[in-house]
């Protein structure tokens, strides 16, 4: 009995103090971690219960030598069965509701999703805007913008139209690299820089095959799908460098398809952006246009960071596959 209590306490303690996840570096990562901890607590409890019964039974109810009789003919017990049907039902329902909460908090429930009509669309859009940006002017803008939006895939705002994020970045996945374009400045980079504490919206596309954009420290992942746009939205809250990992099998060098996201303080971000803008060479535009196809088409402003792309731009024009070595660049 005492042992049981001690074990339960240990499970509780462990699941609240585990170090099983990397630093939570986005605004919503903490909520997901709490969800994980709750699920881990429940799972550990059930785990201990089941293993306990198995081990206890294996020892206590072992057949003794010479005992050839059968056990008691118990065929069921309705109250017990109702209990172990309803408790798991309540638990999974609870977990579902909790997950639902967190998902909508993350902005995962895009407005179209909840109602399916334009009215609900606008209404929901405003609700999300309110949590992200309290400025009424922006909210109105967002309301209007939302009208031309269609269903968005991914966590975050709607595709097309206006996003109400502080920063929009276009992301292109290709074998085997990630390219980031900042539509406001036309800067193209192989490394994603984002300012601290600002809402960032990524509009994700793929050029060739499926990829998946994953930042473990942000707890966010979204497939990049050729021919469709998906999106992710987050607010980074801890400065630092984190890996961007491709999580969907995309070919031989899939494991090498990595990049980095740098969460800068606002000043560092501005410095970085300024240096990128200064480095833009209009001559690169052409090469890139040939290379990136519909990517450039979507963003006529696109220009490249020559430092980053120079060694690759010619090759890119020929064949995206030859880009395989790209990831070690950064």
């Amino acid at each position: 009995m005492l042992g049981g209590i001690a074990l339960t306490l240990f499970c509780l303690w462990f699941s609240q103090n585990n170090h099983l996840l990397p630093v939570p570096a986005s605004a919503n990562a903490g909520a997901i971690d709490s969800l994980f901890n709750v699920m881990l607590t429940i799972a550990l409890g059930l785990f201990v219960l089941v293993q306990g019964v198995l081990i206890y039974a294996g020892i206590r109810f072992r057949k003794r030598p010479g005992d050839d009789t059968d056990g008691p003919p118990i065929r069921g017990n309705i109250p017990l069965e109702v209990l172990w049907t309803s408790i798991p039902a309540v638990l999974v329902l609870g977990i579902s509701l909790y997950s639902f909460e967190i998902y909508s908090e993350m902005g995962g429930l895009d407005p179209m999703a909840s109602g399916g009509t334009l009215v609900a669309h606008n209404h929901g859009g405003a609700a999300i805007a309110a949590t992200i940006d309290e400025d009424p002017a922006t909210r109105d803008l967002q309301k209007r913008g939302a009208k031309d939006n269609t269903l968005a895939y991914g966590v975050g705002a709607s595709r097309g139209g206006m996003s109400n994020a502080d920063l929009d970045v276009d992301v292109m996945g290709l074998q085997y690299a990630w390219l980031f374009t900042y539509p406001d400045t036309g800067v193209l980079s192989g490394e994603l820089h984002v300012p601290l504490d600002k809402t960032v919206q990524l509009n994700i596309k793929a050029q060739d095959v499926l990829h998946a954009f994953w930042i473990p420290q942000f707890r966010l992942k979204q497939d990049a799908i050729p021919g469709q746009q998906t999106s992710l939205r987050f607010k980074p809250v801890v400065t630092g460098r984190y890996p961007i990992v491709c999580a969907e099998l995309c070919g031989a060098y899939h494991g090498a398809m990595r990049a980095e996201v740098v969460v800068d303080s606002p000043e560092d971000y501005d410095t970085w952006m300024a240096s990128m803008v200064a480095a833009v060479d209009p001559a690169d535009k052409l090469t890139l246009a040939a290379a990136a196809g519909d990517f450039t088409e979507a963003n006529p402003q696109t220009m490249s960071d020559r430092n980053f792309l120079k060694p690759y731009s010619e090759e890119m024009g020929v064949n995206a596959k030859t880009l395989q070595g790209m990831s070690h660049l950064h």
Partner: protein, 560 residues
């Protein structure tokens, strides 16, 4: 029907195997017992091949760099590993081997409803398997886009390898459909008079549920693969985005089969576990009806949760929520089964032999997979762990810890019936311990790898994960070694083990009323039941003549 004559069975009546019996296993034989053993041996050989491929994968992953095989070959290895394990081992072993061997015996009939169709279904497996393996030897190499074969990648790797993969899976899927038609018909039509749905052994219920899933979902996979082959060969653009196709549609079609497929792989094993636990616990199964109907509930729910594999794909939010809740609900019928099994062994007289150890190991390991299953069903959490080693851990706890442990338990349990020989228990226990240790060492740490940021299907990885990957690889070597005692034990005992009596475990289901191995046409007349399949302990209770259970006779089970 009351006065049927049942062949009186004498304990020490052991039929002498005529010489040259083994040859029948290499022929187009329509005896369900021969076919069952053909399935079992063939699929076990593929299990060893799939295991060898997995060892190749783990050798590569023992270090963060790409050193053991090339990146291209690595992708082929894990693709063919998964395909072999699913389509050539667990599905044919669970449904094909035990379904064919056991159903007629448990139902009290002489063969399956369509014996020829049955033989045809089996004989599609070896060519399908050989075809698949042959793709390693062609120039471009085998298929390399994962067992999920998502376009557009699957359209861009080597065409021949991909085509062979599609053909092979189509052949194996067809075989599985033919089998399912046979199982369903047999269960519905061929039960011995007096056996109602509600008192047939639980394995039959499980096969009933699994067969429905096969019939409903496998044709959709076939459709998806045929369309994929059009894109591959004829240049159509059903799924190919460069011509305006939609790759997400393929994912829906694929998972409409492949989620039910996980239940096709686990339900038969749920069934055999429900047979094994009562026998070796000497207690009736706890909650017969709940276990029986939860199989049906699982197969219904299993059909409406497929998009939980696509939470980070092109799936709109409201669909993500729907599939999350539907998936979570599956945990309820699954939990009913687990708790009923625990209640079955509680208070029993457990005989901890190899079959029982593997059956209890099954419950123990499967629960871990079920719990991580509920976690990945939660959308916000799955967005983080989808396509990472966390999912690799989850699926191995259900497929290896679940299906494979359960298949081993079944092999140990029915080995005497199938071969007429007892299997050595000491080596069986050694096999169990090695498997349990190797398995957990290999797969438990993978949960952590996934949570910390290691994606799946990679040949190279961040050096921060090196230590844990090395541990996983060591676990996999132990697992590889663990099959040796089993193989040697099985082969030696099959040839020269101690002769098995008709009913070595004192079981109450009908197969134990027949000699070991059973005669060619099973029951000379339809057996008439005197006891239910799980009436352990009942006899003594009723005050009928007390007889030690070790002397259970056919006449205790059958009326005559």
């Amino acid at each position: 029907m009351a006065q049927t004559q049942v062949r009186p069975l004498v304990e020490d009546e052991l039929p002498q195997e005529p010489k040259g019996e083994w040859k029948k296993y290499f022929t187009f034989n329509t005896d369900h017992k021969v076919i069952g053993i053909q399935y079992l041996v063939t699929s076990f050989i593929f299990f060893l091949i799939g295991g060898a491929l997995a060892t190749g994968v783990r050798l590569e992953l023992a270090t963060p760099e790409v050193d053991f095989v090339s990146r291209e070959l690595y992708n082929q290895l894990f693709t063919i590993h998964a395909t072999v394990m699913i389509f050539l081992w667990i599905v044919p072993a669970g449904t094909g081997a035990f379904g064919n061997y056991l159903l007629p015996l448990l139902l009290g009939c002489n063969d399956m409803a369509f014996p020829r169709l049955n033989a045809i279904a089996f004989w599609m497996i070896p060519p399908g398997g050989v075809l698949l393996m042959s793709s390693f030897f062609i120039n471009e190499g085998a298929a390399a886009s994962g067992w999920t074969s998502y376009p557009p990648l699957s359209l861009m790797n080597g065409k021949s390898g991909e085509l062979i993969w599609i053909l092979s899976v189509l052949v194996l899927g067809t075989s599985s459909i033919l089998g399912a038609i046979n199982f369903l018909t047999t269960i519905i039509k061929m039960r011995t008079p007096g056996m109602k749905f509600n008192n047939m052994p639980l394995f039959c219920w499980a096969m009933f549920a699994a067969s429905i899933l096969i019939l409903v979902s496998t044709p959709v996979l076939a459709g998806a693969l045929i369309l994929l082959s059009f894109d591959l060969l004829a240049g159509t653009s059903v799924f190919n985005p460069s011509g305006g196709g939609d790759p997400v549609v393929y994912q829906h079609m694929f998972w409409f089969y492949s989620h039910p497929a996980v239940y096709i792989m686990i339900l038969p094993v749920f069934g055999t576990i429900s047979e094994i636990l009562p026998v070796h616990s000497r207690k009736p199964i706890f909650g017969y009806l709940a276990i029986a109907y939860s199989s049906l509930a699982i197969s219904f729910l299993g059909l409406i949760v497929w998009a939980h594999h696509m939470f980070t794909s092109g799936t709109p939010a409201w669909l993500r929520m729907f599939f999350m809740i539907a998936t979570m609900v599956i945990a309820v019928p699954t939990g009913i089964k687990v708790f009923s099994w625990l209640a079955t062994i509680w208070g029993g007289k457990l005989r901890l032999n190899s079959a029982m150890l593997f059956a209890m190991g099954f419950v123990s390991m499967f629960v871990i997979g079920g719990l991580s299953g509920v976690m990945v069903a939660s959308v916000p959490f799955d967005i983080h762990v989808h396509d990472t080693y966390f999912v690799v851990a989850h699926l191995h706890y259900v497929l290896f810890g679940g299906s494979v442990f359960g298949l081993y338990a079944s092999i140990y349990h029915w080995f005497p019936k199938m071969t007429g020989r007892m299997i050595n228990e000491t080596w069986g226990r050694i096999h169990f311990v090695l498997t349990l240790v190797g398995f957990n060492l290999c797969f438990l740490p993978m949960h952590y790898l996934g949570l910390m940021g290691m994606p799946r299907r990679v040949a190279e990885y961040d050096p921060q994960f090196a230590t844990i990957n090395t541990i996983c690889s060591i676990g996999s070597y132990i697992l590889a070694v663990s099959t040796i005692p089993f193989l040697v034990n099985a082969v030696v005992c099959w040839r020269s083990g101690e002769k098995a009596p008709a009913n070595p475990w004192d079981g109450l289901t009908l197969e134990w009323t027949l000699s070991s191995p059973p005669p060619e046409h099973n029951f000379p007349t339809p057996p008439v039941l005197k006891t239910g399949p799980y009436d352990y302990g009942v006899r003594e209770r009723r005050g009928s003549k007390k007889r030690p259970i070790s002397k259970l006779r056919a006449s205790d089970i059958l009326s005559n």
